[in-house]
């Protein structure tokens, strides 16, 4: 309706001479499209025309400027209201600013320059708000299931079914999967496809925050709550108010903090550290971990009551090596993305390069595939990636141990070591996975220790 760069301004002024002056000021900026009203009612009746800015004279014949301001804000809080008044009462100005007026300008020799400056600043604000809205829309589109999650494998079809269920309600979702399988991508996809998509998505990696700071980070603190708490700080839960909080690596949380988290989840309220005020929460919770939480409960590392609270809808993400030809679909997507981001011509993977990609075991999953693809795009001499351009640099080599010639005993050591690392040296679990007795594992561990294999294992 309005050309892209014009801003529609309403001006509410009952003094015809002063109105003439305001119209003159607006006419100095060709980007402003203005419309004048002499009564509050007339102005309010035209709000459906969606002005970006309204200048309001404080003293009007049918209602006060304050009443007009309240009604405009009730109609649309984003409309910027500038009060222009011959009143020089600071108390009135403060009151109006508290009610949401964008600025308060007195009718004096500064009016013209202040009004133009204020409108200019308001326009910048409007453009920032528009930019934020467009970015929000872009993020929502980016995390549409068909754009953010790639794969046609049966394992992924199960994930899609779970996602569809997850977005229909606000049920807590627990995502498990190896590192690099895309747990955060899934969490974002749930959020941006749910009815909370306009509200914040706040991700917290519990493994990345020093233990002493986690409580304050999650629940916030009041000024002076502890040494160094110079100001009040809002925690991540409050930041996510009305939206979604994603607690990544929930399995790393200490037991005493688990009790506090349980209380917050049960009561749906929190108290900042050092504070008394209770903050009601309306936050959806999505958790993720690479650990087997059920096993952690059995081992006494995770509270059972919290486990059941958080379990909600469980989504198990398959490892990339279990996803067959998804590897190529994802590789092609990542390659296109990398070329686009780096202003490079489109590249392709040769058939033999594709075969090489399919044979690898990807202990780092999609995250690893991404770095492999990016490096291969850089290494390739032309627009086709060949096997020799692809370099696997995994720190965990167990998956391709067959490339080396070893004795059966050495293979066995490597397999056991791989499983112990994967399952945090949980001997019982590894024994179950490998379908061997735990005494067999202990025996191998002893032998490995003798051969310096078992540095990190706990018995």
């Amino acid at each position: 309706m309005h050309p892209r760069n014009t801003v529609q301004i309403f001006t509410l002024e009952d003094d015809p001479t002063y109105l003439k002056f305001l119209e003159y000021v607006f006419s100095l900026n060709p980007d402003l499209e203005y419309r004048s009203f002499k009564t509050g009612k007339d102005c309010l009746d035209h709000l459906h025309l969606k002005p970006a800015i309204i200048t309001v004279d404080y003293t009007l014949p049918d209602m006060s400027g304050e009443e007009v301001l309240r009604k405009i804000k009730a109609f649309d809080p984003n409309i910027m209201v500038i009060i222009i008044s011959a009143q020089e009462n600071i108390g009135t100005a403060v009151q109006l600013l508290k009610l949401g007026a964008y600025d308060y300008i007195t009718k004096d020799e500064e009016t013209k320059s202040r009004l133009l400056n204020t409108i200019n600043n308001a326009r910048k604000n409007i453009s920032l708000v528009n930019e934020i809205n467009s970015l929000k829309q872009e993020i929502t589109q980016k995390y549409q299931f068909n754009k953010s999650i790639i794969g046609n494998s049966p394992a992924m079809h199960h994930v899609y079914r779970m996602l569809e269920k997850a977005v229909k309600t606000n049920i807590t979702v627990s995502i498990t999967g190896e590192t690099g399988t895309g747990k955060e991508v899934i969490a974002k996809a749930i959020h941006y496809n749910s009815d909370k998509k306009e509200k914040p998505f706040v991700a917290v990696n519990l493994a990345a925050i020093p233990k002493d700071l986690i409580e304050s980070e999650l629940f916030g603190h009041e000024k002076g709550a502890f040494t160094g708490a110079a100001t009040r700080r809002i925690g991540k839960f409050e930041e996510a108010q009305e939206g979604t909080i994603f607690l990544d690596e929930i399995g790393e949380m200490e037991l005493n903090l688990q009790a506090k988290l349980l209380r917050v989840i049960q009561e749906r309220e929190l108290t900042r550290i050092g504070g008394n005020a209770v903050v009601k929460l309306n936050v959806r919770i999505i958790v993720a971990t690479h650990r087997d939480l059920a096993e952690e409960v059995k081992a006494g590392n995770f509270r059972e009551d919290l486990y059941y609270r958080l379990l909600g809808l469980p989504i198990q993400l398959p490892a990339l090596r279990e996803r067959g030809h998804d590897i190529l679909l994802i590789a092609k997507f990542l390659l296109n993305q990398f070329c686009k981001d780096n202003h490079m011509p489109a590249m392709v993977l040769s058939k033999t390069a594709q075969e090489k990609l399919l044979k690898y075991h990807y202990p780092g999953n999609v995250r690893e595939l991404k770095s492999v693809i990016e490096l291969s795009a850089v290494m390739a001499d032309d627009q086709q990636i060949e096997p020799e351009d692809i370099h696997f640099n995994s720190v965990r080599k167990e998956g391709n141990f067959t490339l080396e010639e070893l004795s059966l005993r050495e293979y066995t050591f490597r397999i056991i070591r791989h499983f112990l690392e994967k399952h945090d040296n949980n001997v019982l679990l590894v024994a179950k996975k490998l379908q061997i007795g735990k005494s067999t594992i202990y025996r191998y561990l002893k032998e490995m220790e003798e051969e310096d294999y078992a540095e990190k294992a706990t018995y």
């Binding site: 003439k20 003159y24 003293t59 009718k107 013209k112």
Partner: protein, 126 residues
């Protein structure tokens, strides 16, 4: 207005410096503003007299408040100060005995300014 009062008053000079500074000397705009002032102000002056007679101080205070920018535009500085004082007195309902005299002063100066402005229109803003 009281003839005695009239005799004791010396009409304040119109000064368009402020108006000119607000529009960088744009004569078309200045002309529009002066025409608007000459057209609109008599209605306000009539209302002032009416509200003074009915002693509706709050409405009178609002009326003089509304006049402030227009008086500033035509540069009646002393009148502007009297208008400000009258607004405060009326809204707080204090020194009300002074209000009739001040209103007379305001009306007299504005009425005196109208023919001066008209002459400026005819001579300087053709």
């Amino acid at each position: 207005m009281d003839d005695k009062l009239n005799d004791s008053l010396v009409a304040e000079d119109v000064d368009l410096t402020y108006l000119s500074s607000m529009c960088d000397g744009d004569k078309t705009f200045m002309r529009d503003m002066i025409v608007s002032f000459i057209d609109e102000i008599p209605l306000t002056l009539n209302s002032l007299s009416a509200q003074l007679n009915s002693k509706d101080w709050i409405t009178l205070g609002k009326l003089v408040h509304k006049m402030k920018p227009a008086i500033q535009f035509i540069g009646l500085k002393r009148t502007y100060e009297v208008v400000r004082e009258t607004e405060v007195n009326c809204k707080s309902e204090r020194k009300l005995e002074k209000v009739p005299q001040d209103i007379a002063f305001i009306i007299y100066n504005i009425q005196s300014a109208i023919p001066v402005l008209q002459a400026k229109l005819d001579n300087d803003f053709k």
